[in-house]
Subunit: 299 residues, 2 copies
């Protein structure tokens, strides 16, 4: 992964030694690790190495942002068969580098080994800037629930691709390359968010973790969501899929979902519900059946 | 990996949220990541899940110590086939936890996914305690070269196992479960080590990285090493292996090797050579042919 070296004020010592050294200015470091396995989490015939690099970096960086932190550095461990083309690895490396650059982070270290399947582990580090981490456990009855970023785009793009289509291009691109709203995480923390998560498995499922960790009920209102026009068109073309289901249960867009004290929602966030007493997640007052979003290979 | 939660002053927020939060008291964090693939880096018929957990944790923690840092937290990503026994995973988790505890670190986060092969990524974090990181690049002509910890034990244990023997037990155990001298890393940094690495690939090979990064020649003297008696016995039993070769080229013991200004070697370190002008590594004044230590599956 040496090709992915970037320069950044965050980096004290980059790749090439026993370990990297990254600034953790406020005396704490946020750290998240995720593993991605070929044919389970990505397909090389659907996505370029570049897009896969961007996607796996985005997921890790979004986890850091969802704590209210600014991403600083990423470590990448990479396993692949010996016969994997060098050009593909170069593309992957470029994708990792470019996605890290979005929130100002860099690839600071890595490891490359041989394996039967292509497998990637992304560990993302971040800086809380002196703020308390925003966990899943702080939502309180009376808070409002808000989201920032795309919901359902990746799922709609997946639906398109799985039927063999390549358009609408915006949805296909959204599946290949999510665009997490990194800056919204620290901004939400600064504004007093009481709980936060990124939407990796699907909004209802991820908010279910917030509800459980906080000991509250999350109550969503469907009239608060904006379903993109393209969703309706694709749903019709695919023979009657439910576009709202992509919004509520589609994963991998890495939008952010947070709870705020009523009246304290910062700019750019869309209020989509409220926090009440109880447990679980309701949609328009009823339980919402969702198996959650799973990567295609598990379906 | 939730079972591996430990408590530690280093941990602000442990597993279960989008990311962990670990103290980085001096405003920087040391971070190293390594991937391990079944049948390449470990064998489940040779090592228990517990021993594999200890071994992969040890390698990551030793990387952190080799920068002069104290290990604080470890993240573990784990891929395995669905049919892998739960008991094996519990053993692995216990091994990771117990090895982390040796230098006072804990498993702070992780990820579990399905994969065809068992694959592990260990990311170790550490705290430099206000000291500069000790890289591979600081060795200067006139320095002395010293080592701390076992050399060749894992290689000798591997030689025993590969012939189907199970004794001497001390060597077999050393292969299954290295004992890196974690505390010697920060101590060497405090004492003014100019360069340092851990011995993961073999002493000559790893010091070759120091020589290259520092632009110097590392000159080892074989009379400075102590070859354990058991090595001679095993070498004879195996039909004439060279025990010194295990010491010089055997990897995976995770001893530490460092350079110090002459006269500045702290207690417990064994001086085994000197730093001169030039390049590469010499043994008793001659070049030393070594392919370096490789995990058995690559041989």
């Amino acid at each position: 992964m040496t090709g992915s070296v970037g320069t950044s004020d965050h980096v004290v010592l980059g790749p090439g030694d026993d370990a990297a050294v990254v600034r953790a200015a406020d005396g704490r470091v946020v750290a998240s690790t995720d593993m991605y396995v070929e044919k389970r989490h990505f397909r090389r015939d659907w996505s370029s190495g570049y897009d896969i690099g961007r996607r796996v970096a985005a997921a890790g960086l979004a986890d850091v942002a969802a704590m209210g932190a600014t991403p600083t550095g990423v470590l990448v461990a990479f396993g692949a068969p010996a016969e994997l083309e060098t050009a593909w690895v170069d593309d992957l490396t470029a994708g990792l580098r470019d996605e890290c650059a979005v929130p100002g982070a860099t690839v600071v270290g890595g490891d490359v080994v041989q394996s039967d399947q292509v497998v990637l582990t992304v560990t993302a580090l971040g800086d809380l800037g002196g703020r308390a981490p925003v966990t899943r456990a702080g939502a309180r009855p009376g808070d409002v629930v808000a989201v920032y970023g795309r919901l359902g785009w990746s799922a709609a793009g997946y639906a398109v691709l799985s039927r063999g289509f390549r358009t609408p291009r915006a949805l296909v691109e959204a599946h290949k390359r999510p665009e997490p709203p990194y800056q919204a995480g620290p901004a939400a923390a600064a504004a007093g968010a009481t709980a936060m998560c990124d939407v990796s498995d699907g909004l209802v499922q991820d908010l279910g973790h917030v509800a459980e960790a906080s000991g509250v009920r999350v109550e969503l209102r469907t009239d608060a969501f904006e379903v993109p026009e393209a969703f309706d068109q694709v749903a019709a073309a695919l023979g009657g899929a439910d576009p709202l289901r992509w919004v509520l249960a589609g994963g991998e867009d890495h939008a952010l979902a947070a709870t705020f004290p009523a009246g304290g929602v910062p700019d750019g966030w869309r209020v989509v519900g409220a926090v009440g007493e109880g447990e679980g997640v309701t949609v328009d007052g009823a339980e919402y059946e969702t198996p959650g979003w799973e990567s295609f290979a598990q379906r």
